[in-house]
Amino acid sequence: MKRALLLLPLVLFLGVAAFLYRGLFLDPAELPSALIGKPFPPFSLPAVEEPGRTLTVEDLKGKPALVNVWATWCVSCKVEHPVLNELSRRGVNIVGVNYKDDNASALKWLQEFHDPYRLNIRDEQGSLGLDLGVYGAPETFLVDKHGIIRHKFVGVIDERVWREQLAARYQELLDE
């Protein structure tokens, strides 16, 4: 008994060390989204390309979508853009949320760098972004065909992220 007690400090130390070691590999910038499993927040906003057209959450339903929050002021969005172009070429359904942006710059961007978005929601005031819990572009949501948010990815989507984190999930939603 006494001898077992002597081991206690070592056990405690190992426990703490294990936690700290794990902490080394956690990304503190990664926020679990509060919206996973919840319906996409309702909105009524114009389309980027057609100012007369009003988009609502109904336009998202019907098939799974990658909802990508982007802006022309967002530097890393430019890095991500070619990847989105490629994904859209492969048939991935991508919906854009143009977050707190100037519409003219957005249009110019889409013209210059190609437009991978099936729909593009014009969220100039950032109201939809707020409802989505967006805290920095680019952020991407996987939304199923019923309009439920199933996954969120914060940061730049590149080939590797797509392959390792998103492709399988998207396929799963397609197969549902």
């Binding site: 910038a29 989204s33 707020l130 805290y135």
Partner: protein, 157 residues
């Protein structure tokens, strides 16, 4: 001329950015201003990790401050406002996490550890005192005394 204008605009934009954390909101009463103060100090900026939204210059913190101001104006309670933000950003935005099964350890862990510490301390003290108060516990049994005597005797030539 165009360049001058652009420079002026840039200067203006920069000066605005520098003052972003100082909002000039008008409140109906001092009590409301106080509530606003305490809310923005208690809520964490989702972008900047270790700042509350009162201190942060990030655009998102600015948006959240504006949103809180708007909701206060609408007469919403502190609880409604916090719930509104938690629904969007998760418990992460609260510097004061709610008390539930997941946060039990967080809330009561330190007090628990302190209690354990005092427990151990008490145990040690009690043991020590018992040792002093009852010298008989240190005393040798008759058999031991005899052995001691023989050992000591042996030393004698």
């Amino acid at each position: 001329m165009k360049q001058l204008l652009r420079a002026a605009l840039l200067g203006l934009a920069l000066s605005m950015a520098a003052h972003a954390a100082i909002d000039t909101y008008e409140f109906k009463s001092d009590a409301e201003r106080e509530r606003y103060r305490s809310l923005i100090e208690e809520l964490r900026c989702p972008k900047c990790q270790n700042q509350n939204i009162a201190d942060s210059d990030a655009p998102i913190a600015m948006d959240l401050r504006r949103e809180i101001y708007r909701m206060l104006g609408e007469g919403q309670s502190d609880e409604q406002i916090v719930d509104y933000l938690v629904a969007r950003y998760g418990d992460f935005v609260r510097y004061k996490p709610p008390l539930d099964a997941r946060t039990l350890l967080l809330w009561y862990g330190p007090a628990g550890l302190l209690a354990v510490g005092f427990g151990v301390l008490a145990l040690i003290l009690v043991r020590r005192r018992r040792g002093i108060a009852d010298p008989a516990s240190n005393a040798l049994s008759p058999a031991e005394r005899e052995r001691l005597a023989t050992l000591l005797d042996k030393k004698d030539p």
